[in-house]
Structures are given as structure tokens and as C-alpha cells.
């Protein structure tokens, strides 16, 4: 038994070790790179200079805020459009679920590049002249994932039954939505919002091909003049993305535990 245990651990150990190198090498290298500073006589130093440089750039804040604004709008549209639709689907329109699911998967089939061309070809000039066309498209891009998250979250809940129970106990529809439906959808909705937000913040392809300048595209242009600064920016955004997703992972596992205990 002891010999078998050692053999098992070796395989896992090697796998995790390789994975560790796989992950840490590029991240570590980028981090190291991002602190580089070349002195006037060509020597390599390390300091916070690149990060100082980033923050000093006026475009840093303006582009970051722009990306945040667009991401926020995308989340808003998801909230208004997708969340109620999925809720309705589970509440009253279960027969339509299969076909809606297929429709929402279609954006996955189409490459974003192709979709960008489509937007260029189809949208009227007034729409193409405003940066708000971007969040409208971000909603479409994130739809397969947001639908999946909301749909999975609702599948675990007998939404129709508890709504009918609520109504039977005397609550009208607004009260039922507020006290029964919304709380039960909380985790899934949070997950969908996070996903849309993260996707919008990092979206490059559509934004770049439609000639808009958000945070990701700005980082690319920075690389022309200051590769170290650009890398520092990348490290910064990756670190933030990492943190957010880890937090989401922790949050969702904790709430999963809560619902398990409740059962």
C-alpha cells in the first residue's frame, strides 16, 4: 500500500511541477522584464521606473476609464436583456429552451474577425461613429457564456414551482421577483456579470478592427515606443484578471457550500 501511494504521488507531483513551470516561467519572466530599466550607459537595472512611467501617461487613465465604461454598459445590457429572458425561459417557456440555447451558441461558431467585418458592412454610419457600438457587440460576444451560466444556475432550481408557491401564498409578481426569484439567481447573475465585464475589458479584436482605442488596443500601441512599459501594463492587467477570477472562484465555491448545507 505504501509503495502504491508513492507511485501515485510521483505522477501527480511531476504533472503539477511541469504545470508550475509552464505557468510561472512566462509570468515570472514578464514580471522581471517589467521592472527593467536601462541606464544611460546601457547597463540593466531594475526599478519601478516602468510602472511609474505608465501611471504618468495621461492616456493610461483615460483609456482605462473608457474600457471600464464600455464594460459597465455591456453588463447593463446583459442585465436588461439576457437575465430576464433566461428567467422567463425557465419560468414559462421551457419548451423554447432547446432552440434558444442553440441560437445563443451561434456567436461561438462565428470568428470575431468575421463578425467585425459584418459590423463594418452592416451598421449605419451614425452607429459606427459612436464607441457605444462596442458594448452592444460585447453583449453578443459574451452571450454564449452568459446564457450558459444563467441557464445552468437556473436548472438546479425548480423556479416554476417556487414562483407558483409564492403566488399561491399571496405575493404578486413584483414581490415574487424581488423576494423569491432574484435571490435564487444571485450567484448565476453575478457570474454572468463578471464574465461579461472581464470579456469586455480585455476585448481586442473587434475593438481594433473597428478602429476604436480602448485599454487593450492602447497597450499594443504603447509597445511601439516602450516595450518595457507595454509589458508592465500587460503584467498589471493579467494580475488584476487573475485576482478577479480567483475571487470569483472562491465566491462561487463558498456559495455552493452554503446551498449544499441548506439542502
Amino acid at each position: 500500500m505504501a509503495a502504491m501511494k508513492k507511485r501515485i504521488d510521483l505522477a501527480l507531483f511531476t504533472a503539477l511541477g511541469l504545470a508550475g513551470i509552464f505557468i510561472l516561467l512566462p509570468f515570472g519572466s514578464s514580471a522581471e522584464f517589467s521592472f527593467r530599466e536601462y541606464s544611460t550607459d546601457g547597463k540593466l537595472l531594475h526599478s519601478f521606473a516602468p510602472y511609474r512611467w505608465i501611471i504618468e501617461q495621461p492616456e493610461f487613465l483615460s483609456h482605462l476609464l473608457l474600457s471600464f465604461k464600455l464594460a459597465f454598459i455591456a453588463v447593463l445590457f446583459t442585465a436588461i436583456l439576457v437575465v430576464p429572458s433566461v428567467a422567463w425561459l425557465h419560468l414559462k417557456a421551457q419548451s423554447f429552451r432547446p432552440i434558444v440555447e442553440i441560437v445563443t451558441l451561434l456567436p461561438l461558431v462565428i470568428p470575431v474577425v468575421a463578425l467585425s467585418i459584418g459590423v463594418q458592412a452592416a451598421f449605419p454610419d451614425w452607429l459606427q461613429s459612436t464607441e457605444y457600438e462596442l458594448p452592444l457587440m460585447y453583449v453578443v460576444l459574451s452571450l454564449p457564456f452568459t446564457f450558459r451560466i444563467l441557464d445552468n444556475g437556473l436548472q438546479a432550481i425548480p423556479l416554476k414551482t417556487i414562483s407558483e408557491a409564492s403566488r399561491g401564498l399571496g405575493a404578486n409578481w413584483p414581490k415574487t421577483i424581488f423576494y423569491v426569484i432574484a435571490p435564487v439567481m444571485r450567484t448565476a447573475v453575478a457570474g454572468a456579470f463578471f464574465l461579461t465585464f472581464a470579456l469586455s475589458l480585455g476585448e481586442f479584436t473587434l475593438t481594433s478592427l473597428l478602429h476604436w482605442d480602448t485599454f487593450p488596443t492602447w497597450v499594443t500601441s504603447v509597445s511601439q515606443q516602450n516595450i518595457i512599459g507595454a509589458i508592465a501594463l500587460s503584467v498589471f492587467s493579467l494580475a488584476v484578471a487573475f485576482l478577479i477570477l480567483l475571487l470569483v472562484g472562491l465566491f462561487s465555491s463558498r456559495s455552493k457550500k452554503r446551498t449544499e448545507v441548506a439542502e
Binding site: 501515485i8 504521488d9 505522477a11 501527480l12 504533472a15 504545470a19 509552464f22 505557468i23 516561467l25 512566462p26 515570472g28 519572466s29 514578464s30 522581471e32 522584464f33 436583456l81 439576457v82 429572458s85 422567463w88 425561459l89 414559462k92 417557456a93 423554447f96 441560437v103 461561438l108 461558431v109 462565428i110 470568428p111 470575431v112 474577425v113 468575421a114 463578425l115 467585425s116 467585418i117 459584418g118 458592412a121 452592416a122 451598421f123 453583449v139 453578443v140 472581464a198 480585455g202 481586442f204 479584436t205 481594433s208 478592427l209 497597450v219 499594443t220 509597445s223 516595450i227 507595454a230 509589458i231 500587460s234 503584467v235 484578471a241 477570477l245 480567483l246 470569483v248 472562484g249 465555491s253
Partner: protein, 299 residues
């Protein structure tokens, strides 16, 4: 169609037709459908229509005959190769890693790997390219470390900005993507099956050849297809990493969009896009079909 029907509650109702009842149920879904129509179906429709028009706005197949020749055909070949190779070199390590984690890992580890893979799979585009430039670029940290050990990769002609370089970089998000999409299939291999097989005289190898692999093959194939589509259609990383030396379809479309349009080829970009959609659909539609079927018995 009669005017009366038996509702689900078993009560016969006169005056409501089947179609009308369905309309009432479907009505709240119309906003979403309208949105998709305007922001998704219509752009795609416009692309297809435009791709079939020549410079004089007349119906023509000239755009498609153009992209069937060089240099566009080379771009397609390269992109397909890129998708296939990155899928190949990511699917096997990814599947193996997912297997080891699934079988030997604790629940906590599985959750952590899952979240981590989620982050890495979405680490695409520009940050990823820069990360690899920082690591394996001419001034990269790893290159410096190897130099100090006496190994100079660059003297041997290695460069990150080559086809192999891009495949290599793509692995960074393709492998985690494989881990994410293949893990559920592995998870669905029940312990009861392994125990029963053991009990009936099967060695682990026999179990995998008679039960395990046949069960997992559809999901593996589906995952491969997804990875292919992902590698084929990726834009941002390639854009940040190439210096114009490698022809890839997304990049070509990018340059066309930036105004580098040749005479008589106003709508070539549209036909390239249509080509991309067709190839992507060829991979994604089987992927989706297999996944839906697999999900049914996986539950």
C-alpha cells in the same frame, strides 16, 4: 386546426389556438431575438451579400475566386495548419494533465486548477504575446538564463516571430482550454465502472481500451475541434507577435480593414470572412453536436 384544445391541465378551452398560446409564451423572448437579429444575424448576412458583389456592386463570384489563389490561399493554408498544430500539441498534454488531476487530485486541487485554467484560457491576445516576448524574445528572461548556462537559442536561428513561435505561444491558452473542456468528460467516468471492470477481471489497461477510451473519444474529438477553431480564428496574439512575415487569414483581414485595399478587390475582405466562417463552422458545429449528446449521458 380546431378552435378548442385540451390544455396541459386537462381542461378543454375554446377560443385559444395552439399558435396563439405559443405566441404569448414566446413574446417576452422577442427582445433578445430582435437584438440578436440586429447585432448578429444582420451583420453576417451583410457580409455574405457583400462578398458576392464585385467593385461595381454587381453579383459576382470574383471575390471567391480571388481568395482561392495566392496570396490568400497561402493564408488559409497557414491558418488551418496553425489551428491543427496548436490543437494537436495542446490536446494530448491537456488531456493527460486533466486525467492526472481528475484521478489523483483532491477536490480543492481540482477547483483551483479549474479556476486557474479559466484565467489562462482567457489570457490571450496582447498580454500573452508580450508575456512571451518578455520570456523568449531576444532580450527575454529565459533566453538570458539559457545564455548564462551556455545555450544560445538565437544563434541557432530560433525566433519567436516565426510560425513555430506562434504555435508555441498559442499552446499557452490552448492547453488550459483543453483542461477546461475535457475535464467534465473525465469526471463523468464513474468509479463504479472502474470497480466493476476490475471485479470482472480487467486490468487498468483493459478498462481504458474497452470502456474508457471509447467513452471519452467523442469528447476528445469535440475538444480537438474547439481547439482547432480557437487557434484558427485567433487574431490578437498573432497581431501582436508577427511583424508581417506570416500570412494568416485573420491578419490579412486586419490589413485590409486598415485600408490596404488593392484595386478591384473592395470586397475581398468580406469573402475572406465568409471563408473563415465556413471553416470555423465546419469545426464548431460538430463540436456543439457532440457536446450536447455527451452532456446527456454525462449527467
Amino acid at each position: 386546426m380546431t378552435n378548442s384544445y385540451v390544455s396541459s391541465k386537462g381542461v378543454s378551452r375554446k377560443g385559444g389556438t395552439f399558435a396563439r398560446r405559443n405566441l404569448i409564451i414566446a413574446a417576452p423572448l422577442l427582445p433578445l431575438l430582435a437584438y440578436l437579429t440586429f447585432f448578429f444575424f444582420w451583420p453576417m448576412f451583410a457580409v455574405v451579400v457583400d462578398s458576392l458583389k464585385n467593385n461595381d456592386h454587381q453579383w459576382s463570384l470574383i471575390n471567391f475566386t480571388t481568395i482561392a489563389q495566392k496570396p490568400y490561399s497561402t493564408a488559409f493554408k497557414n491558418s488551418i495548419l496553425l489551428g491543427a498544430l496548436s490543437a494537436l500539441f495542446a490536446s494530448i498534454p491537456g488531456a493527460l494533465f486533466a486525467y492526472i488531476i481528475e484521478v489523483r487530485g483532491s477536490e480543492k486541487l481540482k477547483g483551483f486548477i479549474n479556476s486557474l485554467s479559466g484565467v489562462l484560457a482567457n489570457t490571450g491576445g496582447v498580454p500573452l504575446a508580450f508575456m512571451f516576448i518578455a520570456t523568449f524574445g531576444a532580450q527575454g528572461s529565459a533566453i538570458k538564463i539559457l545564455k548564462s548556462l551556455g545555450i544560445d537559442l538565437y544563434s541557432g536561428g530560433f525566433t519567436l516571430f516565426s510560425f513555430t513561435g506562434i504555435v508555441f505561444v498559442y499552446l499557452y491558452f490552448q492547453i488550459p482550454l483543453m483542461v477546461i473542456i475535457f475535464s467534465p468528460a473525465l469526471h463523468s467516468i464513474r468509479n463504479e465502472w472502474r470497480d466493476a471492470a476490475k471485479n470482472l477481471g480487467a486490468t487498468p489497461r483493459k478498462f481504458w481500451t474497452t470502456i474508457g477510451v471509447p467513452l471519452l473519444f467523442p469528447s476528445f474529438a469535440a475538444s480537438f475541434l474547439l481547439l482547432f477553431a480557437s487557434g484558427f480564428a485567433a487574431y490578437a496574439t498573432a497581431r501582436a507577435m508577427t511583424v508581417g512575415n506570416i500570412a494568416l487569414v485573420p491578419l490579412v483581414i486586419g490589413t485590409l480593414v486598415d485600408g490596404n485595399v488593392q484595386v478591384n478587390q473592395a470586397n475581398v475582405g468580406k469573402s475572406l470572412a465568409v471563408g473563415m466562417v465556413l471553416i470555423s463552422a465546419l469545426a464548431m458545429i460538430p463540436y456543439l453536436i457532440i457536446q450536447r449528446r455527451a452532456r446527456r449521458w454525462q449527467q
